[in-house]
């Protein structure tokens, strides 16, 4: 029985770790006025939970219990003179915290982690560490760098926060749209790093993808008026809905050949509901239609097509035209050409393939050219292009796919 109890408690603590970490740390950081100190106190609170919850049962509000324990310890440590001297004053001044009630400080935490004065890779690492509660080792594994490298990156970022005085607060209204964009870019990066792992064994690292969606849901909850936040959540949900059908028996399946009955209708419904709001924009936050909203709209057109043949390519091409006009990039230009090939034919698309040095070693340029050549019947040229794409990919699942394309019809 005792073992079962231990297991149940460990599970309750793990659950509280994944759902409450950000709130607990955010509230503690305000009291600790120091991110390192706050982290130590929160980790200590989770360790105490393992012991106390077994003796006294799991509290009714685990998050409030953890926050109380962590903030109390932070206050206690702050009172010690050596701690006060060791650390630079950093975050907001300590405020009186009425017993048991804590303001939701998660937005402060997110905006601090995603401050534009930090390098973007540092923003990503800090967000995973401080908002998601991942260890440096876990983040290092996810991004295929050495743990020491990741640890140094996180330490440097925390030092920049304290030494330059990056504030622990929600940005002013006039800075907000730009700052929200920075946060959403980080969340998008976390998701895409999980969705299409460049290396590694599989096509995706589901944990990072899940963290990305969790972060997007959290941002949506905290910023209900931000249209672009709705757009990003919609984009991630509609992309994730297709996840189960992307790989079958270790093999990459193109959207054209995916078994649409395996698409997650729950995620699709949730995503589709957000799209109109995302596209409408909200004048009160000074935002017009955002990039993620347009990308979500493209994903929505795919989600709404019962079969590949039913895809409304005219609509998709129009949305890519919007993307390309407002946020030009060689990758967007390439995706637009794919849409064009289904509206105007592969010959027309081949003539508009982007000729950008930035894409010289981008495997999707060669593989797109290969697909278009194949569709026009130029099979030998298509094979050569597939070979080229193969040389540039480092993902084994994609490599296997390209290999099959090369031998197709031979």
């Amino acid at each position: 029985m005792a073992d079962l109890d231990t297991q149940e408690i460990a599970q309750a603590v793990a659950e509280a770790h994944s759902t409450e970490w950000a709130s607990v740390l955010a509230a503690t950081a305000r009291v600790a006025a120091d991110l390192d100190l706050a982290e130590d106190c929160v980790q200590d609170a989770y360790a105490k939970a393992l012991v106390h919850w077994r003796e006294q049962g799991v509290p009714r509000k685990p998050g409030a219990w953890l926050t109380t324990v962590a903030t109390r310890r932070a206050l206690e440590l702050r009172r010690r003179a050596d701690v006060a001297r060791r650390k630079l004053p950093l975050l907001v001044p300590v405020e009186d915290v009425p017993d048991g009630t804590f303001p939701d400080d998660r937005l402060r935490l997110v905006f601090t982690c995603c401050h534009p004065a930090l390098a973007q890779e540092a923003q990503v690492a800090l967000t995973l560490r401080l908002v998601c509660g991942l260890s440096s080792a876990e983040i290092a594994r996810a991004f295929l760098v050495k743990e020491a490298t990741m640890q140094a990156r996180i330490t440097r970022a925390k030092q920049k926060i304290s030494r330059t005085g990056i504030p622990y607060r929600i940005p002013r209204a006039d800075e907000l749209p730009e700052r929200i964009e920075a946060v959403l870019d980080v969340v998008h990066l976390v998701y895409t790093a999980g969705h299409t792992a460049v290396d590694g064994d599989g096509l995706s690292r589901p944990d990072l993808a899940r963290r990305g969606i969790d972060l997007a849901r959290m941002m949506r909850m905290l910023l209900p008026d931000s249209a672009e936040t709705a757009g990003l959540l919609a984009l991630l949900l509609l992309t994730q809905a297709r996840e189960a059908s992307r790989v079958e028996a270790g093999r990459l399946v193109l959207m054209e050949d995916q078994d649409r009955s395996r698409w997650d209708q729950g995620l699709i419904a949730e995503g589709l509901e957000l799209v109109p709001e995302a596209l409408a924009g909200r004048p009160d936050v000074g935002a017009t239609v955002g990039r993620f909203a347009v990308m979500a709209a493209i994903a929505a057109v795919h989600a709404e097509a019962g079969r590949w043949e039913d895809t409304d390519w005219g609509e998709i091409l129009g949305l890519y035209d919007v993307l390309l006009a407002r946020w030009p990039s060689p990758v967007v230009a390439l995706n637009r050409v794919v849409a064009l090939s289904y509206v105007a034919g592969p010959d027309a698309a081949l003539r508009q393939l982007p000729d950008d040095p930035a894409l010289a070693t981008y495997p999707y340029l060669a593989s797109t050219r290969a697909e278009l050549l194949w569709r026009t019947g130029r099979t030998e040229e298509a094979r050569a292009a597939y070979e080229e794409a193969l040389a540039f990919t480092s993902n084994p699942v994609e490599a296997e796919f390209l290999q099959r394309r090369i031998t197709r019809g031979a």
Partner: protein, 115 residues
């Protein structure tokens, strides 16, 4: 509150090509900046051209090597600075964004221990 050094970097080649009108406008812009942010400005000044720079490095044997020129060769060189006081980096950046730097940009660095 802390103090921040705002270093103004400009492309001297572009200044050399100026007939004087850009310089004149720039002076007016700095006056306007100083008037708008007077309460935060703790100091500042314009530097003479980089051709007037002299660099000194310790030679490792207790002596010095004095050379003509700037410490590090870059396209944009520091041409002026402000010291500002701000509540935090966001406030410092909001002020620094207003600093005129028509041919380059600015770098913002905190002074250690709040200056």
């Amino acid at each position: 509150m802390g103090k921040y050094l705002v270093m103004i970097y400009d492309d001297e080649a572009k200044w050399a090509a100026d007939d004087g009108s850009v310089m004149e406008q720039n002076h007016k812009n700095h006056q306007a900046f100083a008037e708008a942010n007077g309460s935060a400005i703790r100091g500042g000044g314009q530097l003479d051209g980089s051709e007037t720079a002299t660099s000194i490095r310790a030679d490792g044997n207790g002596g010095y090597v004095v050379t003509d020129g700037v410490f590090a060769e870059t396209k944009e060189v520091m041409g002026g600075y402000y010291i500002i006081e701000a509540a935090d980096l966001d406030e410092a950046l909001a002020i620094a964004k207003q600093v005129p730097s028509p041919t380059g940009g600015v770098e913002v660095r905190p002074l250690v221990n709040g200056g």
